[in-house]
Amino acid sequence: MTILSYQKALGRALGDEMTRDENVYVLGEDVRVGVSNVTAGLLGRFGPDRVIDTPLSEQAFTSFATGTALMGMRPVVEFQIPSLLFLTFEQIANQAHKFSLMTGGQARVPVTFLVPGSGSRLGWAGQHSDHPYSLFAHVGVKTVVPATPADAYGLLASAIRDDDPVVVFAPAGALGQRADVDLAALSPVPLGVGRVARPGTDVTVVAVGHHVTDALAVADDLRDEVSVEVFDPRTVYPFDWAGLAASLERTGRLVVIDDSNRSCGLGAEVLATAAEEMRLVTPPRRVTRPDGAVLPFAEALDRALQPSRAQLTTTIQAVMKAP
């Protein structure tokens, strides 16, 4: 067994997929040096034709990647900061994502957008701290948010092999994760399939990305008073509704911890779907960023707007007390 970091897992998946398929290549800002640490070492292994530094022209290099994907290549576009997804929303949501339908199935756009460091990393303030996975789930772009090193490897590999655009959000809060893994056992994780990170019988906590770790910690803290099941969807779109339904059959209670703004965030969708279609014995609850949150700079303010373990704890307790 080997200790593998989340960041190294992403880099390993990239290297393995580039070895496996010569049409896979990486482009983005400072990817040759590997400023984000994910692409470090790829230049030496695969050369400058497959590890391409771009000027600071996110909109053009995003659609450039789409053009190469239309011809059969499999680009992996790295964005250093999550807010660049706002700048390139037109190129992803309105161009890459719509080609298949608008051409009546003639075109496929197998492009992967990788954001290594989404969400708050403390002290990066308003324009570097968003975690906009719900936005892409809303428009229907396949979206994954891995929580563990093995899933970071497996979901990135699947994203690259998928024939549709996929956005891979690697939360800043998860990049430091390390796990003892069997490197030979690393393999693609299918899109749209969640996992029960911790079995339980009283309440299901749906946690995304770095909040899986928080949910596991809270579940452990509360183990003497409540049996918490932690469900990690891994892919937020398409969501594993069958997996969630099966969990709620066991528990009948639901709490979501979601690092999105509250209105129209993933948590809202999970609660709505569970309320419409699944077994619930008490009203579901969610822990999110506030409505319309812009993360302020000062550390205490930044933390104050992120979902916390304390909020999750009291929310679980409230759901357990509900009639």
């Binding site: 049409n23 034709d49 771009t54 000027p55 022209s57 909109q59 053009a60 290099f61 995003t62 659609s63 450039f64 990647a65 789409t66 053009g67 190469t68 994907a69 239309l70 011809m71 059969g72 290549m73 037109e90 190129q91 309105n94 161009q95 080609f99 298949s100 339908l101 608008m102 051409t103 009546g104 199935g105 003639q106 075109a107 496929r108 756009v109 197998p110 229907g140 396949k142 998928d162 024939d163 549709d164 749209g192 398409p238 509704w241 779907t273 419409e276 279609e277």
Partner: protein
């Protein structure tokens, strides 16, 4: 010299393309008025010389990206007028199976990577496609991509970024600006600081500006640019001065917005690419082509209106290339 020497040597072939686009557009406007085409179109009438001339300089394996005013480009690249008309009328036999319509007509088998509803969006896509096609083609001759856009697009940041990327990476792409003088209703004088060609030369891209009303002038200008791109000299830029004879969009036929004076329109329409190219043919030859085009267009309309409409059950078919079917809007 050109990819299609038969067309270059044969004024009749160029005339036929211009005539085909003209009649296609006129019949399409009829179908907008009769309600068979929903949502209207952006007519290409008056600008046909550009699509005809530029596409005559291309090889079958070359690529294009087009615009919201894209029927002419798609037809000139060889799309079947019948399947094109079926697409405009929302039929399952359409190029895009009725999923794209006027603004997204595409035929990837012909290298038509799609008309595009966002102004300036095609430039970076074309650059990427040309870069990838050359790379995937190995040692064979480069496949050239042409990105068509209007004068409005030269103020779009993403297009200027695409110029930079294409020049840096010596991508075999030819940027073709159809300068018809108006971005919807805004004149070039009120919209473009500096010159259109200056946009390209600022990035070291050779730029040529020509009369876009004469198909042979356009072809003569486009052919060396296409071959320069193919030879590895990097991106090229062609500005074609033209005039849109009809509305920005057929919506204008009812709304009648006033932004061009009658004198302006009359002057703009005084040079018609159909007449310019037609004058190079005998009346008899011209009549033969006109009659043949009439049959093609009549057949296209008949095919379109006789074709089945797609089933609403399949409205989201093709949304995901992987075949994933999303949840319906009601549970």
């Amino acid at each position: 010299m050109t990819g299609s020497p038969a067309v270059a040597a044969d004024p009749a072939a160029l005339y036929r393309v211009v005539r085909l686009i003209r009649r296609f557009e006129e019949r399409a406007i009829d179908l907008v008025r009769s309600g068979e085409i929903v949502g209207g179109i952006h007519p290409y009438i008056g600008q046909e010389a550009i699509a005809a001339g530029v596409c005559a300089a291309l090889r079958p394996e070359d690529l294009i990206t087009s615009t919201h005013r894209g029927h002419g480009h798609v037809l000139a690249k060889g799309a079947d007028p019948a399947r094109m008309m079926a697409e405009l009328t929302g039929r399952s036999t359409g190029l895009n199976r009725g999923r794209g319509g006027s603004m997204h007509a595409a035929d990837l088998s012909l290298g038509v990577l799609g008309a595009n509803g966002i102004v300036g969006a095609g430039g970076a896509i074309a650059a990427g496609a040309a870069w990838a096609a050359s790379r995937l083609g190995g040692d064979g001759p480069a496949r050239v991509a042409v990105s068509f856009f209007g004068d409005g697009a030269v103020n779009q940041g993403v297009l200027l970024e695409a110029f930079n990327l294409a020049a840096l990476w010596r991508v075999p792409v030819v940027f073709v600006c159809e300068n018809n003088g108006y971005a919807t209703t805004l004149t070039v004088a009120d919209a473009v600081a500096g010159g259109v060609c200056d946009r390209a030369t600022a990035f070291g891209i050779p730029a040529v500006s020509v009369d876009g009303m004469d198909p042979q002038t356009v072809l003569a200008a486009a052919a060396p640019l296409v071959e320069a791109a193919r030879a590895g000299l990097g991106p090229q830029f062609l500005e074609c001065h033209t005039y849109r004879f009809d509305a920005h969009h057929t919506w204008e036929h009812k709304a009648r917005p006033r932004y061009r004076s009658e004198a302006d329109v009359a002057e703009g329409r005084s040079r018609d690419p159909l007449d310019i190219q037609g004058a190079r043919l005998s009346d008899a030859d011209r009549l033969v082509i006109d009659n043949e085009v009439e049959r093609v267009i009549a057949d296209a309309v008949a095919f379109a209106l006789g074709s089945p409409r797609p089933s609403p059950v399949d409205a989201l078919e093709f949304l995901y290339a992987s075949g994933f079917r999303p949840r319906p809007g009601v549970s």
